[in-house]
């Protein structure tokens, strides 16, 4: 009985004790994973606003230019971020882009398939590659770094070997004529909101060509995909059961398994996600250029991971956000294009990319310590 009465009195003193430390709104904001990338994006825009404000970088045409680059990177960065939150890496993203490219081009040009069928074929191959990556990592327990590094070489080698075997070259041109009237290709090859640009042009609010049509003709498909995927990924992470499973799988594999999270299935699906995102990237670029190149996507996996890290993803998994990765991609895209508008030699871009990543990792590490530190 004495125990009970003691428990009541100390309970109230206990809750007083727990209440002592109030968390300021600033701390709450600091705990959001995407904060760093959001702040970084703002800084980048301010910087170029000052340095290159009068150069046309921020005209409609200039903006669409760097948004297009950001969006392309963003599509794969978001998938990479989700996989990283789930606790794994995919180094085969870049090679998958090249592989998906020839999966579209060779059947369409050399085997006479309709374009939509070769696009479907490319996505089917992506699901297979992603599934293979995932099952290898989950079943063998090997680090995904090694498994997907192997896949990086295998896919790039396959791409090169198959293309040369069938075509005798390393490029497959001639796709542009097939886009028109294709029931699927428009998804990856149509500029949208053309009416808006025509209207703005007629008001002389945006730059015009000499023939009176606007210089910027519409929002490129990459930007639409980028926005849609950012929203979709954020919805999954924040608002669905599957999203919680992604965080749990990356945060503590054993604990998650113990409470009934299907960790293996979650990871496999995330590997399929990165391969499919690579294929979306490939569709957009191949249809835009009208040709597939065996070297397309080289090193893109590292840029995607860099964007995800700048966006607040921890290398150890369990923490991060899709919006953060999207801002990470915007930072890289903006700087890579913006540097042309300044007097700085473009060789310095890589230096910037590396420095950004280092700062981001140090910052993230600090945040993680703050988040996990005990009272």
């Amino acid at each position: 009985m004495s125990l009970k009465s003691k428990s009541i009195s100390s309970k109230s003193s206990l809750s007083e004790d727990e209440r002592l430390k109030k968390i300021s709104p600033l701390r709450v904001l600091l705990n959001r994973p995407e904060l760093g990338a959001l702040g970084g994006s703002i800084l980048v825009f301010i910087f170029f606003g000052i340095v290159a404000g009068d150069t046309g970088m921020f005209s409609a045409y200039g903006m669409l230019n760097f948004l297009d680059v950001s969006a392309n990177l963003g599509i794969i960065a978001i998938a990479a971020a989700m996989l990283m939150i789930g606790g794994e890496f995919d180094l085969s993203i870049g090679s998958m882009i090249g592989f998906a490219g020839i999966c579209i081009a060779i059947p369409a040009i050399y085997w006479g398939w309709p374009l939509w069928m070769s696009i479907v074929f490319a996505f089917a191959m992506a699901v297979l590659v992603g599934y293979f990556n995932g099952i290898m990592v989950v079943k063998t327990g090997l680090p995904s770094f090694i498994v997907t590094l192997a896949m990086l070489f295998i896919l790039r080698g396959l791409t090169l070997a198959i293309t040369r075997l069938i075509t005798g070259r390393t490029q497959v041109p001639g796709l542009r004529v097939l886009i028109e009237d294709d029931p699927l290709a428009w998804l990856f090859a149509t500029d949208t909101f053309k009416w808006l640009f025509t209207w703005l042009g007629s008001l002389k609010l945006i730059e015009l060509r000499t023939d009176g049509t606007p210089l910027a003709t519409g929002i490129p498909p990459s930007v639409i995909w980028f926005i849609a995927l950012t929203l979709f990924a954020t919805w999954i992470l924040m608002k669905t059961r599957y999203g919680n499973w992604i965080f749990a799988s990356g945060g503590d594999k054993v604990g998650a398994t113990n409470v009934g999270v299907p960790v293996g299935r979650v990871k496999i699906s995330l590997f399929i996600g990165t391969a499919v995102a690579s294929t979306i990237f490939a569709c957009i670029q191949v249809l835009d250029a009208g040709s597939a190149d065996t070297m397309r996507g080289t090193l893109k996996e590292l840029e995607a991971i860099a964007a995800a890290v700048v966006g607040g993803c921890l290398l150890t998994g369990g923490y991060g956000s899709a919006i953060g990765a999207a801002f990470g991609a915007i930072i890289f895209g903006t700087v890579s294009m913006g540097i042309f508008y300044t007097d700085v030699d473009t060789d310095w871009f890589k230096v910037f990319l590396g420095a950004m990543m280092l700062i981001a990792v140090v910052f993230n590490n600090y945040i993680r310590k703050k988040v996990t530190e005990s009272k």
Binding site: S7, S15, I23, F247, G255, V371, T372, E373, S374
Partner: protein, 265 residues
Amino acid sequence: MSDYLVQFNNISKFFGKVIALKDVTMRLKKGEIMCLLGDNGAGKSTLIKTLAGVHKPDEGEIIFEDNKIVFDSPKDALDIGIGTVYQDLALVPLMSVTRNFFMGREPQKGIPFLKTFDVEKANKIAADRMGQIGIDVRDPSQAVGTMSGGERQCLAISRAIYFGAKVLVLDEPTSALGVHQASMVLKYIVKAASEGLAVILITHNVHHAYPVGNSFTVLNRGKSMGTFQKKDISREKLLSMMAGGEELDKLEVELQEMDRIHNKN
């Protein structure tokens, strides 16, 4: 109908030639806290895993509410209501209180194929449940990493109860905690038992076990040294029964002898 909610009768478990457990019997009534005491290597971990359905006993039977039960997986044990809270707690420090509470069993709402995780409902339940234990979760979206060890332990226990545990198996819930935190967890365990749960508290700390336990089973080298009601046994006796109490007595005698000889010289 017997008085017992759950009975583990003559449980034995062998790993090859090694006898990990031999003829261990434990019977629990509703509302009873049984402390399972034993030193390192006494077979506590093996027994927990057998209770939780990870290992199948080689001999003996498990009877739950008068039905003989065979567990094929940990899920079977969970389904009938044996909730095990392991030492690692299965909590992810980087995730929020709510997300941890409902990890793997998230409440959903909405239409099929577009079901969403009902965060508001989950937040409310998690905050309510934590509030009942006297832990004021200011913000259920705060990371578990910001909570103290005792609060985390309470969260894990609370989760097991919420998801239907009738028998709680707690693996060293106080081992990593200071006095203040440990007493918070022990209080919660008493409260849970008073609401009708049967609790098996596994520990090597007699000082934590003795105030809260109704009965004590002492495990030594895989064998049960017997189950004792609290009125029948003292704290000191329990302590000496765990892992070679007699050995310590002998040591004391020897030391005294050495002392005596030393003084003589």
